[in-house]
């Protein structure tokens, strides 16, 4: 069943999905958006997976937040993921807060918000839910699956679960199993939320805690060099230090702004659930310690991309994926893009990155349409 309310398209999935936590869910909503047109052969569809704080509105103006979609740099007419040519599908993940089944939804059993009674979900649960959407749209095989950060983890999980459902896979700036450092950083965010006295208060939201979580996380998305170049020790108001704890430095003011605007668009409990899903992600463990068996039967052609200044999902972790793919003889290309914009590079205008994505997709598109033999 498909419904649309307040600019949010929702597919109500009427099949049952057994979550990794053991609970089975049924008749749950998955909010999604599509861009471009699905062609007659239904072979131009690209499924884009969003990262921790993204949603289904990957490009154009997000009708809810009134801000640009999270991947506007890459997705759109004439862009790297060209919506004149491709049909781009993007869904809000399970646990999200933009209309999909998540802690911000009403629990029909109690008529109250799920909040922390929501089941813990995993990357695998998210991916399985999105597979229903692909089936609903009548797409037998996607042209490509792609995404950065947590989106990249979903790419890996998708090709592992469905080895013959995508011609190409582009995992960007991600990892096959969340590192201790990344779990630690996520825990920092969660603790900030849970330390807010308004957490679990039905009449309020833990805005302060969520803002602090966002501020901390935001630092990890940038690089030291990028921060230094952009902000250095520049002061907010010209002149001198104020000898107080106001935002003296521009970087402080910038982070406070990032935190303050984030709470308007994101749900604190969603933040808890989604970061948990990332932490639980360990594709290697799913395959008993042998990552390459995750890709044993894959038919997809891979293009793995990392960024030189990304310390959250560094090149070495992306290369682990490449090594695993090579070990099982999968078809894989890999490039590390030079950028001083840190982990966020995949969301920003980094021409070499966008060019690589565009040309790789183009070669796959031509290959399957036999326009060119290579």
């Amino acid at each position: 069943m498909n419904s649309e309310t307040k600019n949010i398209k929702k597919l109500i999935i009427d099949q049952s999905l057994e979550l990794d936590c053991g609970k089975t869910i049924k008749d749950f909503p998955l909010a999604y958006e599509t861009y471009g047109t699905l062609n007659k052969n239904k072979n131009n569809a690209i499924l884009a997976f969003h990262a921790l704080t993204g949603d289904q509105f990957c490009t154009n103006i997000n009708p809810i937040t009134k801000r640009e979609g999270w991947w506007t740099t890459a997705v759109g007419p004439g862009k790297a993921i060209d919506t004149n040519k491709y049909f781009v599908i993007c869904a809000n993940v399970l646990g999200g807060c933009m209309g999909s089944y998540g802690p911000k939804e009403i629990n029909p059993a109690t008529n109250k918000l799920f909040a922390t009674t929501f089941p813990v979900i995993t990357i695998r649960d998210m991916v399985k839910a999105q597979k229903y959407l692909i089936d609903y749209l009548g797409i037998k095989k996607l042209l490509a699956v792609t995404g950065g950060s947590m989106g990249g983890m979903q790419v890996l999980q998708f090709v592992s679960l469905y080895p013959d459902k995508a011609h190409a896979a582009i995992p960007i700036a991600c990892s096959a199993s969340h590192s201790a450092q990344n779990i630690a950083l996520n825990e920092l965010g969660r603790q900030a939320i849970m330390a807010d006295p308004n957490w679990k208060n039905e009449n309020s939201t833990p805005d302060k805690g969520l803002a602090v979580a966002r501020m901390a996380a935001h630092i990890t998305y940038l690089s030291k060099k990028g921060l230094q170049e952009k902000f250095g020790r520049k002061l907010q108001d010209k002149g001198s230090l104020k000898f107080s704890f106001d935002a003296d430095f521009q970087i402080e003011s910038y982070l406070r702004y990032q935190g303050a605007t984030f709470v308007d668009r994101f749900d604190a409990n969603s933040y808890l659930y989604i970061t948990r899903a990332m932490d639980y992600f360990d594709l290697e463990k799913q395959f008993k310690g042998n990552l390459s068996s995750a890709f044993n039967n894959t038919k997809s052609k891979f293009c793995v991309i990392s960024f030189s200044s990304d310390w959250l999902y560094p090149t070495a972790e992306n290369k682990e994926i490449v090594i695993a793919l090579n070990t099982c003889g999968a078809n894989v290309g890999f490039v590390e893009i030079n950028s001083d914009k840190g982990h966020d590079s995949f969301l920003l205008d980094v021409p070499e990155f966008l060019k690589t994505v565009s040309e790789f997709l183009n070669s796959i598109y031509n290959e399957i349409n036999n326009e060119k033999r290579i």
């Binding site: 070990t327 590390e336 893009i337 690589t356 040309e359 183009n362 290579i374």
Partner: protein
């Protein structure tokens, strides 16, 4: 396509799996993929060249052969190709061992330091040779371990590496190297191309 690649592609049979080490802009890979239906992969240290390959739809991994070859499983390719790069590695012997491990057969080409122009340059000028194939000065050359065709053959014999085919290239002309013409070829060839296992 350059003559050397023509020779290499003729050695490679159709429909086989090929790994091209230091594949550059992927021109050999592209030829093999289109004309011989080979399943080709590449390894290349330079980012801009890797990007070029990816944009052509070639599966190329950015990386340095001295660090990356270890990840490829034993005998996972029918052919491993290394064109004019062996002499540039810190440890050519180890790289060669890796190539022989990964490939059922390995194709290696080397610029011949025994070529007469090289010999005469050193003999008469008394400075490090600079030729069309060896265009760099001693202080900026990437070539750390130059060898001659004879050196390479001696090395293979010493290490029990089987040479299935040895060819040489002079001014775009291809010919075969045999035991009988070895001394001659070692003087008059610019490039040696070997199929080994």
């Amino acid at each position: 396509m350059k003559k050397e690649f023509e020779v290499i592609s003729q050695i490679i049979q159709n429909n086989k799996r090929v790994l091209d080490i230091g594949c550059g802009d992927g021109s050999l890979m592209e030829y093999l993929k289109i004309n011989q239906k080979n399943d080709v992969r590449g390894l290349e240290p330079q980012k801009n060249l890797v990007q070029k390959c990816i944009s052509k739809g070639l599966s190329v991994i950015e990386g340095d052969a001295e660090k990356e070859l270890i990840q490829f499983p034993k005998k996972s390719f029918d052919y491993v190709v290394l064109s004019q790069t062996l002499q540039a590695f810190f440890d050519p012997e180890e790289v060669l061992n890796q190539l022989l491990r990964i490939g059922k057969q390995t194709i290696v080409s080397i610029p011949n330091f025994g070529y007469w122009k090289v010999r005469l340059h050193l003999l008469f000028k008394g400075t490090m040779p600079i030729t069309k194939n060896l265009p760099n000065e001693w202080y900026n050359t990437p070539n750390l371990h130059m060898c001659t065709i004879q050196d390479f053959v001696n090395f293979c014999n010493k290490k029990n590496i089987k040479i299935d085919k040895s060819m040489c290239l002079t001014n775009e002309k291809i010919s075969e190297i045999t035991n009988r013409n070895m001394g001659y070829k070692n003087i008059f060839s610019q490039l040696g191309i070997f199929l080994i296992q």
